[in-house]
């Protein structure tokens, strides 16, 4: 197998990690939504916590994407 092919395969495998971040973000927003429907009055006060959780979760997905880019381009 050519090294180039291995590089592309590796980059593709690295992006699988983003799926986990996707699941995590879905859980965050889903749980926020179900909680917000139960108690709409408290929802707006928790918006910054929502964004914080989203940001922390998303960062992990972005890590794997950056790894993929590094495999591809360096």
């Amino acid at each position: 197998m050519e090294p180039e092919a291995a590089r592309y395969i590796g980059a593709g495998i690295a992006t699988i990690g983003m799926g986990g971040a996707g699941i995590g973000m879905g859980m965050i927003f889903g749980n926020f939504l179900s909680a917000a429907i139960r108690n709409p009055a408290a929802a707006s006060s928790q918006f910054s916590n929502l964004i914080f959780g989203f940001a922390v979760t998303e960062a992990l997905g972005i890590f794997s994407l950056v790894i993929a880019f590094m495999i591809l381009f360096t």
């Binding site: 910054s48 964004i51 914080f52 989203f54 940001a55 922390v56 998303e58 960062a59 992990l60 972005i62 890590f63 994407l65 950056v66 880019f69 381009f73």
Partner: protein, 258 residues
């Protein structure tokens, strides 16, 4: 014709050079100060933010005009965010958080404009901003609390054996903060631009195939339009996320024991 590959949009090229400083007699090992497209858009962001904020509030209207209202909303938005995240003591860092938010927001938005350069797609820029934040957090924490700042890594009310597990995790999470802070912004902007360019590139390459290709190119075009909307959202959100994480980290520096 503009390049259709997704990478060339991140190229940095020199617009003009200010000459080399600190070089030895052979002209080697010097630092050549060059004005690049990246620098141009940094300067553009700063000029845009400063001139907007200053010119819009020139009237000091008691009843704000529309342009003044934008500045005031931005001010109050960030001020409330800092106050709720870091308390009233954190308001000392309000100019820093506001500058970070405004810079990242405007740089992201400028980057959305076709042919413009996205400053925040350069990892060195986001890393510099993240390290600035962490530097401020560490210096302020140590200056304010001395060794008490280390309480940050020791959660209160935890039995000693568990401490051996928790403290390394806390240290690790603290060390990963600048990494995640810089990579999040960098990755989001970079990935967004690449994906956008890939779909826009499909439009070009499909259109080159003739009439059928042109019809088919509607699909990636619609996708590119939708992605542009998503990218605008992400650009604004990432600026907000950077600012709110900065305030949360500053809160740790102000109140280390949690």
């Amino acid at each position: 014709m503009a390049p259709t590959d997704p990478i060339s949009q991140f190229n940095i090229y020199t617009l003009f050079s200010f000459g080399t400083v600190g070089a030895d007699e052979n002209g080697a090992n010097g630092f050549e100060l060059v004005f690049t497209n990246s620098a141009l858009f940094m300067v553009a962001s700063v000029v845009l933010i400063s001139s907007y904020l200053i010119l819009s509030t020139r009237g000091r209207g008691l009843v704000p005009s529309r342009v003044q209202l934008v500045s005031e909303i931005m001010y109050e938005f960030i001020a409330n965010m800092v106050r709720t995240s870091a308390g009233n003591e954190g308001m000392a860092f309000f100019p820093l958080v506001f500058s970070l938010f405004a810079f990242i927001f405007v740089a992201n938005m400028l980057g959305m404009y076709p042919y413009f350069f996205a400053v925040t797609s350069q990892i060195i820029i986001t890393a510099a901003l993240a390290l600035l934040v962490m530097g401020v957090v560490i210096f302020y924490g140590v200056w304010k609390h001395g060794f008490g700042f280390l309480k940050l890594f020791v959660p209160s009310g935890i039995p000693l054996p568990i401490m051996f597990i928790v403290v390394p995790i806390e240290v690790l999470s603290f060390l990963s903060r600048p990494l995640s802070l810089s990579l999040r912004l960098f990755g989001n902007i970079l990935a967004g631009h690449i994906v956008l360019k890939v779909f826009a590139g499909f439009v070009v390459s499909l259109s080159a195939l003739g009439a059928l290709g042109m019809v088919g190119s509607v699909l990636p075009f619609v996708m590119a339009v939708a992605l542009t909307g998503l990218k605008l959202l992400v650009s604004a959100l990432q600026a907000y996320v950077f600012a709110i994480l900065t305030s949360i980290y500053l809160n740790d520096a102000i109140h280390p024991g949690h």
